[in-house]
Subunit: 237 residues, 2 copies
């Protein structure tokens, strides 16, 4: 069944984004009284469509499911990358359960954030996160944050990891096994070419642990998927 | 340093694919005596380029590294999917160390193999596998096989898994922990909609173990990456 995230709920009526009404009517060509799934504030509802042709209404039928608090939260800190790569990361990390994606400025990142363009991009990324959440039947959309300076990572008191390219580091597996009690994991991923030594040292001084992901040479956009996959596996029963 | 896989080696001269000569000359614009890495029969060599302009020669300088026998081999059995999805799977699984990709006909696969087109496609896939191996600095290119019938999976005596969508199955993690001694792992991945009951039963009768990958709803093209990531993690020191 098609799933949509609602913007608002007034009594038993859901308010969707304009694009979603268009999707229901023109792309899915749904009929009067057809049922859909609607998520609002982490609760999944069964709903039905009325007045398809004009002034469409989405009517609550019943509550189906409340989101159970996820025991573990994964937050990814990634550099600005080329649009296509970021889109890919946003989509796939959502599928694999990411809680938050933070974009951070890193020295070796080829793409620099430009304020004048940023609000448009955030709109685009927000849409990708929402659509990927609908597709993968999540009950929440990952948070998105754009951080202007890595000094802001100073206050984080969780399990904090850096995907490092330095030699002789502990593997992410070892560090995960030794730190299994943390509920929130923050991982900083570098751009092509990795973090600079200065960036790594700064993050280490903030309590981030540099880890190796093994010997494979992965493209920048593969790393978040790799990480999300292994976290899923690590927390699997 | 740029890496290429050689077709042949005659004494101290490597023979590359036509496309690679073009790449060296026109895309990379390499100069006389510039050094490259060449892989031939799982051995990495340092080589240099001579006669760039006409009748280019690739001259062996020295052997750098022999591939160590990988202790574990992962073979993925995947259905025919849309071109873009297969390209993606071929590229990313290579990055993550897949040994062999077998394309298998499955009932719910929307794309059916067509013999007349197949040889052209195999050429295309072979190129993707080779290029991804060069990019990710592998010393071998994954094997590619197209299987005409899943009955041919009968003879495989390794750890054989099916990514199943059935309920109440053991997780892949549990099955991996209980079968850590196998050196070769074969995994069958279903198309969108999964394997049919009949296909699963047949594979089970061949000794394949159905496993669940967890509760996430992943797109078909995400599953091979997820698998390759968790195998890397599982075998990490």
């Amino acid at each position: 069944m098609q799933r949509y995230f609602a913007k608002e709920k007034n009594d038993n009526l859901f308010l969707l984004e304009e694009k979603d009404y268009h999707h229901i009517k023109t792309v899915m060509r749904m009929k009067e009284n057809e049922e859909i799934e609607v998520v609002y504030q982490n609760i999944l509802y069964l709903a039905c469509i009325q007045n398809v042709k004009e002034n469409m209404k989405i009517l609550e039928l019943k509550e189906i499911e409340k989101e159970e608090k996820e025991s573990k939260k994964i937050n990814l800190f990634i550099p600005f990358l080329k649009e296509q790569k970021l889109d890919f990361i946003f989509q796939k990390s959502t599928e694999l359960g990411v809680s938050k994606i933070c974009l951070i400025p890193l020295e070796r990142s080829i793409i620099k954030a430009k304020e004048e363009k940023e609000s448009k991009k955030i709109e685009r990324w927000t849409r990708i996160l929402k659509e990927a959440s609908e597709q993968s039947k999540r009950l929440s959309v990952p948070e998105l944050e754009v951080i202007s300076n890595i000094n802001l990572l100073k206050e984080i008191e969780d399990l904090n990891l850096i995907c490092s390219t330095k030699n002789n580091l502990k593997s992410i597996k070892k560090v995960m096994k030794n730190n299994s009690s943390f509920d929130i994991i923050n991982v900083v991923i570098g751009p092509e070419g990795g973090l600079t030594l200065k960036e790594e040292e700064k993050l280490e001084s903030f309590g981030f642990i540099p880890v190796t992901l093994g010997n494979r040479i992965m493209r920048a956009e593969t790393v978040p998927l790799y990480l999300m996959s292994i976290f899923n596996y690590e927390f699997m029963e």
